[in-house]
């Protein structure tokens, strides 16, 4: 088993350090928000996770198209890695969103477009993983995974738009469309710094997790190959 490359080790350390620093900023540097109090602090991580999760979503869709064009299995590993990590990031997004929602609106969940689309995206990811699990042949698995990433990827923006349309015609049943709900309250400079730092932190964590997962994928492939060689 080859040791972790230097770059990855650096990323590991950077992730840990940045996360610690970001946490410090969130709790001690950013000012208290007037309307919501301490709970608002979760916003920094919540949005950062969502944006980085979207990165993963895009990466998966692009990797899928790349595989279909070039038939190189390395794109398939990237695609699966992006989906799995994005899945986790969106779970964190949804959970932190719920933690924020309860004190704000008295409910753990609202059917607003963004949250609902995030949940649907998670379902598509899980469907993707189940699809892959049901296929033995790695080439077919890669092909089908890529096709589903494409179909799912196209449907998500359309779903988001349709839910938004749905919501504007119907009044919001729970809570009102307050500025806080839209995530668009005024940010003073210190908040902005904290937010951007959070974004950077989670991007680095994403990159490091992605690298780890791709390595894992490659090693799994090597094991498969060794197994085949022994059997022959």
């Amino acid at each position: 088993m080859e040791p972790q490359p230097v770059g990855l080790k650096v990323l590991n350390i950077a992730s840990a350090v940045l996360l610690a620093a970001a946490t410090y900023l969130v709790f001690f540097y950013a000012p208290m928000e007037a309307v919501m109090g301490q709970v608002q602090r979760i916003f920094y991580f919540h949005v950062a996770n969502a944006w980085v999760g979207m990165l993963g979503f895009l990466a998966a869709a692009i990797a899928g198209i790349a595989y279909l064009r070039m038939h190189d299995l390395k794109w398939d590993i990237l695609e699966q890695a992006s989906v799995e990590i994005s899945l986790v990031f969106f779970i964190i997004t949804i959970v932190t969103g719920s933690i924020w929602a309860y004190p704000a609106w008295g409910t753990w969940w609202t059917w607003d477009p963004r949250l609902t689309t995030a949940a649907i995206l998670e379902m598509i990811y899980i469907a993707y993983l189940l699809l892959r699990q049901g296929i033995e042949d790695s080439e077919r698995r890669a092909r089908f995974g890529a096709v589903y990433t494409l179909i799912g990827g196209l449907s998500v923006p359309i779903t988001f738009m349709s839910i938004r349309l749905f919501r504007t015609i119907h009044p919001a049943l729970i809570g009102t469309a307050s500025a806080a709900a839209q995530g668009g309250f005024d940010m003073n400079p210190r908040m902005l710094v904290t937010f951007l730092f959070g974004l950077l932190t989670f991007s680095v964590i994403f990159a490091s997790l992605l690298w780890h997962r791709i390595r894992l994928g490659r090693m799994a492939e090597k094991v498969e190959q060794m197994k085949l060689e022994i059997m022959q």
Partner: protein, 237 residues
């Protein structure tokens, strides 16, 4: 010996494409007319779903107006997966898919042929469910707008469903996988179709429902195009 050039020309001309699509659709319909297995299972299932809804939801006169469209679309969506699964399973079981792939036509002809016959089956089921529901709940469902929405929605559903069913049938988990793959992706259709259907049933003029109808049309066009382009990757090795 037959003229070589004409043979090749015959294989790849647009006429042969349409002929192949028609042949596949005819084949599916003829076989189904004989056995009626697919249609009967779809139909019985659809009627059972409506029955279950009767007890699960309060379908009294007041709430009926708001809930009818939803009940109908849930019914169509679930019965639809039965039909899609069965339709593709027929090809897989006797290796018939290979028979289709051996034909000297573009792969997308297979996609269109299957999609059109799947659509036909869905239409037949819908055409029976609508009057039955009307009778059971004393609601008039024969609104041209509603029928139009059901048409548009079914087209989009079948377009994506045929593609995903072709994938699902080649996996180990088969039937179970199709709804898991299909439903999250087909949500815009459910959303738009239910809103538009409710609108028509409650007497809104078509002009107010244009955004939903547009959404359905956009979805249909986008996904028919994508499925057509991507089908090769699903059937070719």
């Amino acid at each position: 010996m037959k003229g070589e050039k004409s043979n090749v020309a015959r294989a790849t001309s647009p006429g042969s494409f349409l002929r192949a699509v028609a042949a596949i659709t005819w084949k599916d319909l003829a076989a189904e007319l004989r056995s009626r297995e697919l249609l009967s299972s779809m139909l019985v299932f659809a009627l059972l779903v409506i029955l279950v809804f009767n007890f699960a939801l309060e379908l009294d006169a007041k709430t009926r107006a708001t809930v009818t469209a939803g009940v109908l679309w849930v019914t169509f969506a679930f019965a639809g997966t039965l039909g899609l699964n069965r339709s593709m399973a027929v090809e897989k079981d006797r290796g018939c898919l290979d028979g289709l792939l051996l034909a000297p036509v573009d792969r997308s002809a297979i996609y269109f042929g299957k999609a059109i016959s799947n659509l036909a089956f869905m239409f037949i089921v819908e055409a029976i469910v609508l009057p039955v529901y009307s009778v059971l709940y004393n609601t008039n469902l024969f609104h041209p707008g509603l029928i139009g929405v059901i048409l548009l929605g079914s087209v989009g559903y079948t377009a994506v469903g045929t593609l995903l069913a072709s994938m699902a049938v080649q996996t180990r988990t088969r039937d179970v996988l199709l709804p898991i793959l299909l439903f999250p992706v087909v949500l815009p259709i459910i959303i738009a179709a239910v809103k538009a259907s409710t609108g028509f049933l409650q007497g809104f003029p078509a002009s107010e429902l244009t955004s939903w109808i547009n959404l359905l049309m956009v979805y249909d066009v986008v996904f028919i195009a994508v499925a057509f382009m991507v089908f090769d990757y699903v059937v070719e090795e």
